[in-house]
Amino acid sequence: MKLALFVPCMVQDFQPQVAEATARVLAKAGMSVHYPKGQTCCGQLQYKSGNWKSARAVARHFMEVFQDWEAVVAPSGSCVSMVRKYYPELFRDEPLWRDRATDLGKRVFELTEFLVGVARVEDLGAQWHAKAVYHDSCQVYRALGIHQEPRKLLSRVKGLELLEMEQADVCCGFGGAFSLQFPAVSEAMVAEKVSHILATGAELLVSAEISCLMNIGGYLRKQGHGVKALHIAEVLAHHGE
């Protein structure tokens, strides 16, 4: 199956290794992976900060870039939920664009839901001897209903011991512009999240959402905790020890 890789803006310029891992994992699952040129972003920052005019322009650009693909896969739940849930809402007064959005929404997938639900692959031959804990990002779990898929995939990684933390589905406090506007509240939320992660004794913190990883990973790093924050694609593409 031919598919298009959508590389979210945060991945493109800040975590490019996540997109690389995603491409490798999808190729491993037997997919023919393509990277359509001209792609930029889904527009959720604009949408969520109340600037719908600007969000519409970005959304139109996104739809133009990806309109002809049978499947579009992204290593991020929030971008997928933006396209699938909020694009039709953004264009509700423009029927042509709304229909295009609804149609594209059915073909845009978050990585783990694509692997388990569409490609029907759970064992990607990955190996990593470590204790890991999975964080249910709000935009992956609550917005898209993806809960079991990442756990299924991680349970097939050789050597990986998958732990569960307390309140795995409570928000990490990122919230995009929220963390810039109310940094103190955001810090308190991520501190609590990290306390739950540390309590498990895990060495790896795994998530399917890039923004949570930037938040939790950034906190872990600056506070000097040894836990590594990784996108699930990075774990699934791993073969060494």
Binding site: V7, D13, T40, S49, C171, G175, L180, Q181, P183, M189
Partner: protein, 480 residues
């Protein structure tokens, strides 16, 4: 009530530093959230019940004018008097006039968010009328001179030690910390007020149009005393509280206590239709129902915001909100707090006074999962953000710098070459600003973000990695 919602950021920061408050907030999860989850887990079809609840609110608000007229007619038939109030001020004036005309000196009150909304206590007190809150939590915050910090537990921000100190100071009683003792003190103080009161004021959890009844849920029995002992009962009810029938009420009664406190039913459920009738032993001589608009019909008229009015005031969205649980109710600066407060406040007060609140959320969606009438709170928060930012009738939104940054970013995203050029520029600039993997300088608000978190610098973008990776993947594919 004075609106202090613009101070959200500042007060949230203070709340985070208040260790006692943080300890008190931690109990909310245990006290309310767990109970709610257990109560719903025990239901055969919790989703179905919530959908039914939503359908009832949808239908009620779609037929609001008719239902309100029916309610008015039935209340009159039952011997009650109906007053209409466009604004909080009008409602306060009606209550004060009633009190003055009837020589009322002392008022006892049942717990009511809507009277907090319109500042009724202050209005009565300014007329020299003694007013006593009789719900234990409300009694505590009245003594403390504070607004409620939670819809269901107005004094949830206080520990029993703090309450003991407060009672000792304000009531002149010895300092005791056992909850039973504190309750006994409040009860003794309040019993004398009940007996001496001329007027009882309550809100209502619902009003039933077909019978002209108001419905009051409580656990302490103080509301029942407030509506049976004084000679006048005044119920202040937002127009959105009306539902068509008693059958609809059965659904609300199944949802509300479970959502609020995890109970199958509150200890007291009072359905009150008019004043005492001839031959009856209990009840007031007069029953007045004040139907309050105070901005609600404007919300009703807007299809995108209408579901804000479905709220049953159970408080369950507060209990699961990770922001509320960190900053507490007072940070929101008005009467309603948490996700529903962030939605309602800018609609009920001048929007610019509460423009930050819809942005004070990560949109995590935990609230929508527990709402008994399935209010799509994240969607409403997004709608309010859009209105505040784009609609000239609203006036506010996020700080200008963030708004402009988002706009510029949005413009770049539709101009691919310029976007790439800008990111290349950012990468070069970041190299100049980084020293040994640390930022030597960051512009605000990024600097604040990076106080406790490492902020990644722009890396070599994926599109530069892709050509080599593509080759590798194609060759790998050919091999296998």
């Amino acid at each position: 009530m004075h609106v202090r919602s613009l101070e959200f950021g500042k007060r949230a920061q203070e709340a985070l530093l208040d260790e006692r408050l943080q300890r008190n907030l931690e109990r909310i999860g245990v006290r309310f959230k767990v109970g709610r989850d257990m109560a719903f887990a025990a239901l055969e079809d919790p989703e179905g019940l919530r959908s039914l609840g939503r359908a009832i609110k949808e239908k009620s608000l779609a037929n609001l004018p008719f239902l309100l007229e029916t309610l008015e007619a039935r209340v009159k038939e039952a011997g009650g008097v109906v007053h209409w109030a466009r604004t909080g001020k009008e409602a306060c004036r009606t209550v004060c006039d009633l009190a003055k005309q009837r020589g009322v000196r002392t008022v006892v009150k049942g717990k009511s968010m809507v009277t907090e909304e319109i500042g009724l206590n202050q209005a009565l007190q300014s007329q020299g009328i003694e007013t006593w809150e009789t719900d234990l939590g409300e009694f505590i915050i009245q003594l403390a001179g504070e607004p409620p910090s939670h819809i269901i537990g107005p004094a949830v921000h206080k520990s029993k030690e703090q309450i003991a100190e407060l009672f000792a100071e304000k009531l002149g009683v010895p300092k005791v910390e056992a909850p039973e003792e504190l309750t006994r003190i409040a009860r003794e103080k309040l019993r004398e007020k009940f007996v001496g009161a001329d007027m009882g004021i309550t809100g209502a959890n619902a009003a039933v149009a077909e019978t002209g009844s108001i419905v009051l849920l409580e656990n302490e029995g103080n509301i029942r005393l407030s509506v049976t002992i004084p000679r006048i009962h005044v119920a202040l009810v937002g127009i959105e509280k009306v539902i068509p029938t008693l059958e609809d009420l059965a659904v609300i009664l199944a949802l509300l206590p479970r959502s609020a406190t995890g109970q199958k039913l509150s200890c007291y459920t009072s359905i009150i239709t008019g004043p005492r009738r001839q031959g009856e032993l209990d009840g007031p001589e007069e029953f007045h129902l004040i139907l309050l608009d105070n901005g609600r019909s404007k919300i009703l008229a807007d299809p995108d915001r209408r579901q804000s009015l479905y709220c049953l005031r159970c408080g369950s969205c507060l209990n699961v909100c990770p922001v509320y649980r960190k900053v507490g109710g007072h940070s929101y600066g008005w009467v309603y707090s948490g996700p529903i407060g962030a939605v309602l406040t800018p609609q009920l007060v001048p929007a610019r006074l509460a423009r930050d609140l819809p942005f004070a959320s990560t949109l995590c969606g935990a609230c929508a999962e527990v709402c008994p009438v399935k209010i799509e709170l994240p969607k409403l928060l997004l709608t309010m953000r859009q209105r505040l930012s784009e609609d000239p009738n609203f006036d506010g939104g996020i700080p200008l710098i963030l708004r402009l940054a988002a706009k510029f970013h949005g413009w770049l995203l539709t101009h691919y070459s310029l976007y790439r050029l800008a990111m290349d520029g950012a990468r070069v600039a970041s190299r100049l600003l980084m020293c040994d993997g640390r930022w030597s300088w960051l512009p605000p608000p990024l600097s604040r973000w990076a106080r406790k978190r490492y902020l990644p610098a722009p890396a070599r973008p994926f599109l530069k990695i892709w050509p080599r990776l593509k080759k590798e993947l194609v060759q790998g594919g050919e091999k296998s």
